[in-house]
């Protein structure tokens, strides 16, 4: 055995040695070792080790105190304050005991000024609370490590195209297989796509999100099942028995954590599937799938035109993402040459670290919010520092006496620091309490648009962050008043009986307020830009009429029960007529995918003239009530009629944009498009444009054809237009569906308004929080200005009294004080505008049809700030005009 287990604990020795002054190190360590041995003999080694640790820890503060050469150890108190009965005392003692004492004394002196203390604590509480809440979101959503093994080597593969906002677009399965085959830098990988399925394991049918993946997924992520087995390559062969791995959550929720689950059969989409495993509890995947099933792609042909797949893979040791990108692109270039039809036209392939995929698109907005909320905290700190400054200001003579008696400036440090720390830690407590509530609210309101929302909570690291922040704030605000306690200045304070002269020059306090105004302007400008964007976004003409009168929901008919063609078409026709019988319902339409949410695209041409092409044309099979339910107008020609729908005649309606794109200057009616059927689809009318891909995307060219034309869609979305409140229809809708098929779940029930807001989640989140922060910033800076101006007026009351006595008008006094206020406001706004212009660029990805330096917004924001600031100045200014000259001159 090499280590002497009768020796003092090594780490504690290290701590002692590190904190003790070098001169005393041998003495201290030797003494301690001697004592330790004695004790070990008396009470045992364990107890002696505990004692040693306690000694080492309790010695930290006094020993560090020695290294900073703090002396004293006596209680000092100010006689004048004793007389006033408001005395503050402190100990100049850097022992732990001394600090505790100082903190107790600071607490007591703060308790004597409850108004001041509560204002300071609440101000800091708001700042720290807001920071805690945002940090918990950033931590849970972004910083917390992903649960996968070897995260740094995991990559996410996607395709990119300029028209679809760059990379992140789904890929085709054959391309992926070729890429995977050809790459040397890509190690094991798994191809996946999402689906929704009807799960019936008990009575109630359930809609579950399914991850359809090649067999390698769990092993690529390094997350083997907690129960049962992983997928095997043979599970991935077309026609093999259907098997599923379910998530821990579904296992608990749906199967009561049944330990014998493995081998049981569940009915998924009306077909039996055997459950072979349960994923580990920390398994998480974007989109929160609950069931994993194999793609069964082996031995099956997939179209190179269907972009519906992505892959996750592991880099080979030593390979970089950049190198992989280049390698994959080289392979993809070959595929473009080989299959120009499917892969040409601007497509490229891409690889990203897995974080990009898991954390989603709101990384930037979260960090922006983090930045904004730090600014709010800075404003809060400036305010409290100002309050403390004012307090220090009124105690100038006390300090002067102390200095005259030989106190050193550093001797005041423990006192001010203790005050700062007491305020900030209490503020932290208030803040954390507020954050508990704030986090719940944030997750409830915006959980849907945040990555890993279920991980957002007030946990250890978040609390540690709040504590650290509180301590930093305490140090910061505690040091500020010390800057004002300068021996040389204080001589004047002693000599000068009046308080006036030294106080007008509180340049520090004034610069604090100027910075507050500047910081507030930065936040308010951000909020203004985001609000204006949101307003523009709300004003976008979606092409739909009265979207508050539409209810939407989705259904998915299991293919095992409803064959394509008559069974599917007939089901939706029956459901439509049942729904139309509900009182208040005006129209019912079905479509493969709701407008505003994107959908299928194709490159099409005119039948008679194949040279005339249009790319990325959206198409939708619709039932007869579709346009009426959405309120889309007919611009030319005629509607599709009952006969068109009944037998699925190859007639079509095109939108205005497609009419322009394909038939500029000609009449499209009677022409035919696409080569999908012999003779093409005959255009019978032109309908109004709808923002098919969402409010932020340009209107795509589009055409619509009868639902029955290609056998119908087993998964469809319904739009029900009602005269009344759409949400009130939900029970009737469920009843109507259950009347036709009790096993069929109705899912994604939303009003059209909610659909329109989907995808604006991140923007709304950023805008609302920026709005809240802007409000806080305005409030806090108004309080700051009010405080400084009130104090300035109080300090100048003598001078103002003299002016009034000498015949100055009230108006001129008002002007004087307001002018003084303007000297705070104007520089603040100028600095703020410069800062905001410099940083507004960061916001641009969240803005919509507005420049990050939009002059009107900046002007409006500056005016708002001027108004608030002048408002805060006005009350003290008004008070100044009410001064009674006699009293104010006699006073003091």
């Amino acid at each position: 055995m090499t280590r002497d287990d009768r020796a003092p604990p090594y780490l504690a020795q290290l701590l002692l040695a590190w904190t003790t002054r070098r001169r005393h190190r041998p003495g201290v360590l030797g003494d301690m070792e001697e004592s330790f041995r004695l004790r070990a003999g008396r009470v045992g080694v364990e107890a002696a080790r505990r004692w040693y640790w306690s000694q080492a820890i309790r010695s930290v503060v006094p020993s560090i105190g020695v290294r900073f050469r703090r002396g004293g150890g006596m209680v000092r108190m100010d006689i004048s304050e004793v007389r006033q009965g408001t005395y503050t005392t402190w100990v100049e003692d850097w022992t732990m005991r001394g600090w505790l004492r100082n903190i107790k004394l600071a607490g007591r002196s703060l308790a004597k000024k409850p108004g001041f203390s509560i204002l300071a604590i609440v101000t800091l509480g708001l700042g720290i609370g807001a920071n805690t809440a945002i940090f918990s979101v950033i931590f849970g959503s972004l910083l917390r490590p992903l649960p996968y093994a070897g995260v740094d080597d995991l990559v996410y593969l996607s395709d990119g195209h300029e028209n679809f906002g760059g990379a992140g677009v789904d890929q085709t399965l054959p391309n992926l297989l070729d890429l995977r085959e050809g790459s040397h830098l890509l190690g094991p990988s798994a191809i996946f796509t999402y689906g929704n399925s009807n799960l019936s394991a008990g009575e109630e049918p359930d809609r579950v999100r399914v991850l359809l993946t090649s067999s390698e997924m769990l092993s690529v992520l390094g997350m083997p099942p907690r129960l049962g087995r992983d997928f095997l390559p043979e599970d991935d062969v077309a026609g093999a028995e259907r098997v599923a791995v379910i998530t821990d959550d579904l296992w608990r929720r749906r199967f009561g954590a049944d330990p014998t689950i493995v081998g049981r059969t569940a009915i998924i989409d009306a077909a039996p599937v055997s459950i072979v495993g349960v994923a580990p509890p920390d398994f998480a995947f974007p989109g929160e799938p609950e069931v994993l099933m194999t793609l069964q792609h082996v031995g099956q042909d997939f179209s190179r035109g269907t972009r519906n797949y992505n892959a996750i893979g592991r880099l080979e040791p030593g390979a970089s993402v950049e190198a992989l990108r280049q390698e994959l692109q080289a392979i993809f270039d070959g595929l473009v040459e080989q299959y120009p039809e499917e892969n040409g036209g601007g497509w490229y392939t891409w690889a990203d670290p897995i974080d990009t995929f898991v954390l989603g698109s709101n990384v930037r907005s979260l960090y922006l919010l983090g930045g904004a909320v730090v600014l709010v905290l800075l404003i809060a700190c400036a305010n409290v520092a100002n309050l403390l400054l004012v307090r220090a200001e009124t105690r100038q003579r006390e300090f002067a006496v102390r200095f005259a008696l030989g106190a050193r400036r550093s001797g005041l440090l423990p006192h001010f620091l203790s005050e700062g720390l007491v305020l900030s830690v209490l503020g932290g407590v208030v803040g954390v309490a507020a954050a508990v509530w704030g986090i719940d609210l944030l997750v409830a309101l915006y959980g849907g648009s945040l990555a890993r929302a279920q991980q957002i909570e007030l946990n250890g690291p978040v609390l540690a962050f709040s504590l650290l922040m509180s301590l930093l704030v305490g140090l910061g605000i505690g040091l500020v008043p010390l800057l004002r306690a300068q021996p040389q200045r204080l001589n004047d304070a002693l000599k000068d009986g009046t308080r006036g002269s030294s106080l007008r020059s509180s340049r520090l306090g004034r610069s604090l307020v100027i910075s507050e105004v500047a910081l507030a302007l930065v936040i308010v400008a951000g909020a203004g830009l985001l609000m204006k964007s949101m307003a523009r976004l709300q004003d976008v003409d979606l092409g739909l009429a009265d979207i508050d009168q539409m209810l939407t929901f989705r259904l998915s008919l299991p293919e095992a029960k409803y064959e394509s063609g008559e069974p599917v078409v007939g089901f939706y026709a029956n459901l439509a007529s049942d729904l139309e019988r509900i009182p208040g319902v005006e129209a019912v339409g079905f479509v493969n995918r709701l407008p505003l949410l994107g959908g299928w695209n194709a490159n099409i041409s005119v039948w008679e003239n194949p040279e005339r092409e249009a790319s990325f044309v959206s198409f939708r099979p619709v039932t007869s009530g579709y346009f009426e339910a959405l309120g889309v107008p007919l611009l030319a020609g005629r509607w599709l009629e009952a006969t068109d729908f009944a037998d699925g005649t190859a007639n079509t309606l095109i939108n205005e944009t497609l009419a322009r794109r394909l038939f500029a200057g000609e009449d499209p009616i009677g022409q035919a498009i696409t080569d999908w059927v012999e003779g093409g689809l005959r255009v019978v009318g032109i309908v109004g444009d709808v923002r098919g891909a969402g409010p932020t995307r340009p209107t795509p060219p589009a055409f619509y054809f009868p639902f029955a034309l290609f056998g119908g869609e087993s998964a469809a979305a319904a739009i029900v237009r009602t005269a009344g409140d759409p949400a009130a229809l939900v029970p009737n809708v469920r009843q109507a569906v259950a009347g036709l098929d009790p096993q069929l779940p109705v899912y994604d029930i939303r009003t059209m308004r909610e659909v329109a807001h989907q995808g604006m989640g991140t923007r709304r989140f950023a805008m609302s929080l920026f709005g809240v922060f802007a409000g806080l910033a305005l409030l806090l800076s108004a309080v700051g200005i009010y405080g400084v101006m009130s104090f300035a007026v109080a300090q100048r009351s003598r001078e103002l009294g003299v002016r009034l006595a000498l015949g100055a008008g009230r108006a001129s006094v008002l002007r004087l004080v307001l002018g003084d206020g303007a000297r705070l406001i104007v520089p603040g706004i100028v600095i703020g505008v410069v800062l905001a212009l410099a940083t507004a660029r960061l916001l641009s990805s969240l803005l919509f049809e507005i420049s990050a330096i939009d002059p009107i917004t900046f002007l409006a924001v500056s005016l708002v700030l001027v108004a608030v600031a002048l408002g805060a100045t006005f009350a003290p200014a008004h008070r100044a005009t009410r001064l009674d000259p006699l009293t104010s001159i006699r006073h003091e």
């Binding site: 002054r21 003495g27 003494d31 105190g65 022992t95 050193r408």
Partner: protein, 113 residues
């Protein structure tokens, strides 16, 4: 630099200085610590003891010298402390001050029930 004149002894300095006097030429860290703990009935951190010793030494109330290393101490040398005249004077002043203040004060705990 201001003169650190006539600073009152802090409580810890007071105690440590008295113990150094009591222990005479045996006064080194461990014994001082043990004696203090025994007399006050609380386990005082070694860091606080040395902090007080450091302050006393800087004011010239005590001096120190380095002794021999011993194996019980992991081969580290002892530092012995000796009270100086100024230290004794400070104690005397403090004693006189306290005695003066005590004069005429009668402690009657009964009075407080």
């Amino acid at each position: 630099m201001k003169e650190q004149n006539q600073q009152t002894l802090g409580e810890m300095e007071h105690l440590v200085l008295l113990v150094v006097l009591r222990l005479g030429d045996q006064a080194y860290g461990m014994l001082i610590s043990e004696e203090l703990s025994e007399r006050t009935g609380r386990d005082i951190a070694i860091g606080s003891v040395y902090a007080a010793l450091d302050r006393l030494e800087r004011r010239g109330y005590i001096t120190s010298r380095v002794g021999d290393p011993t194996p019980q101490r992991g081969g580290r040398a002892k530092r012995y402390f000796t009270a100086e005249r100024q230290g004794v004077e400070a104690l005397a002043a403090s004693q006189a001050l306290l005695l003066g203040l005590w004069d005429g004060v009668e402690l009657d705990p009964e009075r407080f029930g």
